[in-house]
Amino acid sequence: MMTNQGNRLTQGQFSFLPDLTDKQITAQIEYALGKNWALGVEYTDDPHPRNTYWEMYGNPMFDLKDASGILKEINACRKTFPNHYVRVTAFDATQGVESVQMSYIVNRPKNEPGFGLTRQEIGGRQIQYTVHSYATDKPEGERY
């Protein structure tokens, strides 16, 4: 039974929606800027849900007033990594730690093979389950 057609990665906000347009991304960035959050652009080619820390594209962006600078950064990242996952994160720095307030995917590979379910038999006929991304069978950088 396939519940997630097309194996689209569903992590963060809006991931069950069709891909956000640039206009919609701009509106989301404006929302984050309105709350004085710092924004960052991150990318990865390992989509496992427990892979929390993605690579940062450039520095996190503090003290910006307008979304167009961040959108330019997103587009530069998409151009550099057209077949990686790219997400935008917004941090609230007021608590003195990097607490993520928003995170949404803005770029995904053309083909997403999805995840397989691995069953491991352990002592006493018990079974352990884990998910495994088909993409990570290949080495980093050649996955998509």
Binding site: N4, Q5, F16, L17, P18, L20, K23, Q24, T26, A27, E30, G58, N59, M61, D63, L64, K65, D66, A67, S68, G69, I70, K72, E73
Partner: protein, 323 residues
């Protein structure tokens, strides 16, 4: 699942447009007369405020009114479907120190914002240090960071001629200039750049950077203030800080200004501010000396002639007249 997601996508869109219609650019879209544009953008308030708050500067104010008029007419042309090229709004402010370049730049950002030529209307003031890096490969990210911060507003580069240092061929300033030029040309709707500096040095800067000169459309000359104007400025400053001149103190201050203007390193309004700050110091130590006296409100807010008469400027003038 995909069916239910589509309406949410549309809701997203409608939120975007609703947010934008609150902004001036879209509200201005239906305006057909100059009066309507002015009423909807409230740009006249800013210009009136500029007239009221800034003393003197008649040629600058006239130029700002001209620019505002051009922008208003451009708005009307766009509304009626006449395509006019996006105006180049980059400016160059030249004038001696303390003639109000930064204050005017701040008002300019407001005017441009009200007319919808910049989206946010904030002012980012930088100097060479903020743009130029210290080692190879440091400059480009630094300049781009500043540009990102200025997006949607006005980038004010104070003493812009320092960016170009011909005496050092390995100077990284040229790199910053090139990145600036690219953004000034390609992202005109994202930000407006205002360069500022002394007249003669800005002239040489533009001569050696023809690319920059051709991209800056408006050159505004800030004249020095006359002594009368400086006196008006000092009155305004004192009122803001809740001080007043004693009856004979303003004539003393005028004598002070007459002498100070002729001395080197006179920085117009900034020198006035410093002179007033020093007078406040002298007033404070005058009051401090008399420990048992009950001080009234008037005592605390009045600057007397003696507070100004103690200035070094008068002593130097005396020395000179003795010689």
């Amino acid at each position: 699942m995909s069916n239910s997601s589509i309406p949410s996508g549309r809701a997203e869109n409608s939120v975007t447009t609703a947010a934008q219609s609150a902004d001036p650019p879209v509200a201005l879209g239906q305006a057909r007369s100059v009066g309507e544009v002015l009423a909807q953008s409230q740009v006249e308030d800013v210009i009136a405020e500029l007239d009221r708050d800034l003393v003197g500067l008649a040629p600058v104010k006239a130029r700002i009114r001209d620019i505002a008029a051009l922008l208003v007419i451009d708005k009307l042309r766009i509304n009626l479907g006449l395509v006019s090229e996006a105006p180049s709004l980059h400016m160059n402010f030249v004038g001696n120190p303390g003639t109000g370049k930064t204050s005017v730049a701040m008002r300019m950002a407001q005017i441009l914002h009200r007319l919808g030529y910049v989206r946010k209307g904030h002012l980012v003031a930088v100097t060479r240090d903020d743009l130029v890096g210290q080692y190879i490969g440091h400059t480009a990210p630094k300049t781009k960071e500043v540009l990102k911060k200025a997006m949607g507003g006005v980038l004010f580069i104070d003493e812009a001629y320092y960016l170009y240092r011909p005496e050092n061929e390995r100077d990284y300033g040229q790199e910053a200039i090139e990145i600036l030029l690219q953004v000034m040309e390609n992202q005109r709707d994202d930000l407006v750049v205002i360069l500022a500096g002394y007249k003669d040095r800005m002239d040489t800067f533009f001569e050696s950077n023809p690319g920059m000169s051709s991209r800056v459309a408006h050159h505004l000359d800030f004249p020095d203030y006359s002594v009368d104007e400086l006196l008006q400025i000092s009155q305004k400053m004192l009122t803001q800080q809740n001080y007043v001149f004693a009856p004979d103190a303003d004539t003393m201050f005028q004598r002070y200004l007459d002498l100070r203007v002729q001395q080197p390193h006179f920085a117009n309004a900034r020198s006035v501010r410093n002179a007033l700050d020093r007078a406040r110091l002298r007033q404070a130590s005058r009051l401090f000396a008399d420990r048992d006296r009950q001080l009234s409100v008037d005592d605390l807010r009045t600057l007397t002639a003696s507070d100004f008469a103690a200035s070094r400027v008068f002593q130097q003038a005396d020395v000179r007249s003795d010689e």
